[in-house]
């Protein structure tokens, strides 16, 4: 048993501080906003030029001119603003985004991120705003499956895929654990009850240990 994508997104959402500015990457990370109540006053930034992205638009609300960086038709929160792409990345590079949560292919024990080039032959690269966000956000978290479909660890000693940015990831939320990137290696803060410490080690490449106060990783039932 492991967490599904919605449960992983829920878990990451619990650590966002009220009032923070957060940019969510495409794929699983964007699900995080579904679990943040508006009372927490968290402003979601979308790099195409929105501060204050609201829930996905219904068919009646949908406006083709109001999209987020994942091309989803969205709504705006009260207090939202819209600006051009240069202003958006000034906001990002200038350090005005508190947290970015990104998907990834690999994260190294030194916090290096590799999430823009999948290495599939002849498929062209897609970098989007990932490098700008990883380098510039005050905090970078990664939300990804612990292992690939063929059971290789996505947590690695050294990234084998082209880097997005060096030494930028602080925390990793996987389907089995919550892990901090520390100078002493991967430090497991929470681990799902069905996975033993030994299994975690076997499924992780790169030095990993449990924190002294490591807790059980739990999430409410949420369907996929």
């Amino acid at each position: 048993m492991s967490l599904n994508k919605n449960q992983m997104a829920w878990r990451a959402s619990q650590d966002l501080k009220s009032g923070s500015v957060v940019n969510l990457g495409l794929g699983t990370p964007v699900l995080v906003s579904n679990f943040v109540e508006s009372s927490r006053n968290i402003f979601f930034q979308s790099e195409n030029g929105i501060l204050g992205v609201g829930p996905e638009a219904t068919q009646e609300e949908a406006n083709p001119n109001l999209v987020d960086a994942g091309s989803r038709k969205v709504t705006l929160m009260p207090g939202a603003s819209i600006f051009d792409s240069a202003a958006s990345f000034s906001m990002i590079r200038g350090g005005h985004v508190d947290v970015t949560i990104l998907g990834s292919f690999e994260v190294s024990v030194g916090g290096d991120l590799a999430n823009w080039d999948s290495g599939v032959p002849d498929k062209a690269p897609l970098v989007g705003g990932a490098m700008d966000l990883a380098v510039s956000a005050k905090t970078t978290w990664v939300l990804m499956q612990h292992n690939t479909k063929d059971n290789r660890s996505r947590l690695v000693e050294h990234c084998s895929l082209p880097l997005t940015a060096k030494n930028c990831v602080e925390r990793i939320y996987t389907d089995i654990a919550v892990i901090d990137v520390t100078s002493g290696g991967f430090l497991t803060r929470e681990l799902i009850s069905s996975v033993s410490e030994e299994e975690l080690r076997n499924r992780t490449s790169g030095y990993i240990k449990l924190a002294n106060d490591c807790r059980e990783l739990k999430a409410p039932y949420i369907g996929n």
Binding site: L66, A124, L126, M131, L163
Partner: protein, 227 residues
């Protein structure tokens, strides 16, 4: 002064082979589909296009590539959707087209710099990655940076909401994206809009000032999946 035109066809016929063309748009918002479909008919070749994304095979920027009009693409998002190769990816594999892939913020800032008279700037984004290879590096204020040069173009093709006869432009929601900066960085800017206004636009509605705009046309409804 009146920058409104009946059609952009005569202007686009002057686009020379080998020109550099910036194309606005992010997702469906702000893609100048009327101008792109007219440009495709006129069919200049050997173009460099500067566009955020060429991921969607049925979008008009991708259609210019399929029509063998493009020799170089400067973009942030080149990977075709799906597992198979897009026409662009096939051309890339076969060495028929050149790709310059940029981090999106660097893409934007290089265009902004191009319109703002800044020939180059240092940025930490991309340092130590494959996209920073071959670029001059410098440690500034403790940050490792790479030198990024400004981007300029011959034509900017932009889609917006409203414009007045003077060339002042207003955008709808996230249609703005790259339009205002691309308009500043090109010799000739053509903007297609949903509505052309007879009266001057109130100054606080203006998101792109008239000085950057050369020609305005009315958008046609084009039923085409945009990028």
């Amino acid at each position: 002064m009146d920058k409104r035109r009946q059609s952009a066809v005569e202007i686009l016929k002057e686009v020379k082979n080998g020109s550099t063309i910036m194309i606005s748009g992010f997702g469906e918002a702000g893609v100048p589909n009327t101008l792109l479909s007219q440009l495709k008919e006129i069919h200049p070749t050997n173009l460099t296009i500067i566009v955020n994304s060429v991921t969607r095979p049925h979008s008009l920027p991708h259609a210019l590539i399929e029509a063998d009009m493009v020799s170089k693409v400067i973009t942030t998002s080149a990977r075709g959707r799906g597992k198979g190769l897009s026409k662009f990816e096939e051309k890339l594999r076969d060495g028929e087209i050149e790709l310059e892939c940029l981090p999106q913020g660097t893409f934007s800032e290089r265009i902004r710099a191009g319109g703002a008279g800044i020939p180059a700037f240092f940025s930490p984004v991309g340092y130590g990655t494959r996209l920073g290879e071959g670029k001059e590096t410098k440690n500034i204020q403790g940050k490792d940076c790479i030198l990024e040069e400004a981007l300029t173009g011959d034509y900017a093709l932009v889609s917006a909401n409203k414009a007045d006869r003077y060339g002042n432009v207003n955008f709808s929601y996230t249609q703005m994206n790259f339009g205002p900066i691309m308009a500043t960085a090109c010799k000739t800017t053509i903007v297609e809009v949903r509505q052309l206004l007879e009266q001057p636009m109130p100054h606080n509605h203006i998101q792109l000032p008239s000085v950057y705009v050369d020609h305005l046309i009315q958008s046609e409804e084009i039923n085409h999946e945009s990028q």
